[in-house]
Subunit: 390 residues, 2 copies
């Protein structure tokens, strides 16, 4: 184990009907005027937005609506939101949605109280020390952003997808009302499942030694997510499985599973360039990337892939480590495919082979010429991994 | 799963040498004058206390020492500490020690800023809404108190051991420096191992359905603790195993493992009366209580004990559930015994059979006539369980 600091001050409020507590939670933080950031018109049509607004108004909190945030969020709405906050004297940002909405809300909260160019935080030219307080009502499991101090945004002019990090970005509360997720179609649910599993994999693939405790915890949550995913494929209305997924998505990314270990994050970097370039869901992009990345890395490192195969996918160890590992990766891929996830770049509408060089060049390196920490990929290898995905 | 709120705002600082950060962490909270609560003279002799004092003084924080807290903490020092805080204008309470010291520090912090009788909080006549901020430097794994909003104290005049709970009691920071635990003898280490496993068991034994995620997580942490315990028995200087135990003790009690499920807590209630009456370590008392409680409960409920046996202790399921379960309980008992833990009340110096009626009467019921939630024990059964432990 390596040294760590674990600080997760978000208040998680989990349970059916908890969306009605939005007003009370916001008022408890002393907010007077809240910007509600949301996405699609679904929140409007379903009456969810109205429930949230009513809940805030009942606590005498003024409300300003800020809708229209799209999946794979871009910087435009962040700039607009910052302007609205300043003009209207907003003192609280409430995100109602999934990862894209929450990340946009965090960008707005950060920009509203910091002078200068907000993209500097994403470009890592500076770190945010302050932001407006952010609250979350999560509508899609697996965002992870509901419990993290991160925000990921794409700069439209460059199509660079980058993250900013700061303790001030951690939501003050996150309302996890499983009923909001009960009507989610299988495809979006599957994207969430892949995303939360990927959040665990980024932590699981490490060279840090003596990490049995977090290994066991990672494997435990992975097995439980897989069981819930299988249950939902069999019965889309399995509310127990939906409840499990909603909380598992938070556990996967609140970082309790990554403590004391060097994390990897190369697959997220590879995928970010896909969803920056194409209209592909983050989860779907990760479903394409992970199995290929695993098979590619297997030539360099075997033990972790064998451990994943045996402990998470119940593979009986073969005489040959490669065989054991590959059987585990095949099981993973089968599971994701059974949920309707893609497996190749060629399945993405608009994909051209010539884009690979562009994505490989743009993918953010951990250090000059190196992507990831588990087995860092050099520039040539980054392109090679993308090519295996065609 | 049942609804829950999860709020754990403690900043955990884990790593070798982090004890030197005590001053910085305390100063970051704006403290000017700290009461350092500690126990034995070991902290003085080893130079640890001086390191902490120097660290605070380097940040211009005034320091008042408050030593001498004994294991199985009683109310006397709490009252004395409250007086000192008021007289000296203390604005921060820093606990340097294990569970007894931390719980005493929390009692002091709570009493210092609330008028009236502090025992009322333990008697559950009122709930604490405010307390002086508390920081922790943990010297013994498994306290759990370093990440919880609880304090357990014995009232000397009645020998009642009771707990108070409140968000304001959660430590603002907890420094987990594994080096402080490296010289801990096997017996104390074993007490810690039993205590942290018991903290998980209290959550594990539940009737709440659809709790696979937290079940898997409980089992993961239990397996990792057992592996670390075996490693330390083989080699008392296994620092990797010591690091694991230190963090596992916090994970076990920070409540991430108990979310969404009804917890039991009958065994802690049974044990509290033992350590209130005799000079027995809390962990040793739990080592006596749990296997007997499990065997007693097995006549009423089987599934959970079978699950524990197969998933944590790797028992191959037998044709008969009782047999599987009993083999698991025997493995648990063997593990604890191998670490030097007692198995029977008759091993406690001063134990008399006539005390059983006294303990049975005093043990705090969950509801009138009922102890625990998994399979509540009536008054007669409480006494019966104690008798099986003789």
């Amino acid at each position: 184990m390596i040294p760590f600091t674990y600080y997760s001050p978000t208040r998680f409020v989990f349970g059916k009907g908890t969306v009605n507590e939005a007003g009370k939670q916001t008022a408890a933080l002393g907010a007077k005027k809240a910007l509600i950031v949301y996405g699609s018109s679904h929140a409007e049509r379903s009456g969810l937005l109205k429930r949230v607004v009513d809940s805030l108004k009942a606590e005498n909190i003024e409300v300003v609506l800020f809708g229209g945030v799209r999946p794979n969020p871009v910087d435009g709405p962040v700039y607009k939101g910052i302007e609205v906050c300043r003009e209207q004297g907003i003192d609280f940002v409430l995100a109602l949605g999934g990862g894209s909405v929450i990340d946009t809300a965090k960008g707005i909260a950060m920009g509203a109280v910091n002078e200068g160019e907000v993209w500097d935080f994403y470009a890592r030219k500076r770190m945010p020390q302050k932001a407006l307080p952010v609250g979350v009502i999560l509508t899609i499991p697996a965002a992870g952003s509901e419990g993290s101090g991160n925000t990921v945004i794409t700069q439209e002019s460059t199509l660079l997808k980058r993250s900013a990090t700061g303790e001030c970005l951690r939501p003050r509360f996150s309302i996890l009302d499983p009923e909001l997720t009960y009507s989610l179609p299988l495809y979006q649910t599957a994207c969430g499942i892949v995303d939360m599993m990927a959040h665990i994999f980024e932590r699981y693939f490490t060279n840090t030694e003596a990490v049995d405790l977090t290994d066991q915890m990672c494997e435990a949550v992975l097995r439980s997510i897989i069981a819930a995913g299988n249950a939902i494929r069999e019965n889309i209305n399995d509310t127990d499985a939906r409840d499990t997924l909603l909380w598992a998505g938070t556990v996967a990314h609140v970082n309790i599973l990554g403590l004391g270990r060097v994390e990897d994050w190369s697959v997220h970097a590879l995928e970010h360039e896909m969803s920056a370039l194409y209209d592909v869901a983050h989860g779907a992009g990760l479903a394409i990337t992970y199995p290929h990345w695993m098979r590619y890395q297997l030539q360099f490192k075997k033990a972790r892939f064998v451990q994943l195969a045996t402990r998470v996918f119940g593979i009986t160890p073969k005489a040959n480590d490669d065989e054991t590992a590959l059987e585990g990766i095949a099981k993973l891929s089968e599971f994701w495919t059974s949920l309707g996830m893609p497996t190749r770049l060629s399945e993405i509408p608009g994909f051209k082979e010539s884009d690979i060089a562009i994505m490989a060049k743009k993918a953010k390196r951990s250090r000059p010429g190196e992507l990831g920490n588990f087995n860092p990929l050099n520039d040539k290898q980054v392109e090679e991994v993308y090519r295996t995905m065609i």
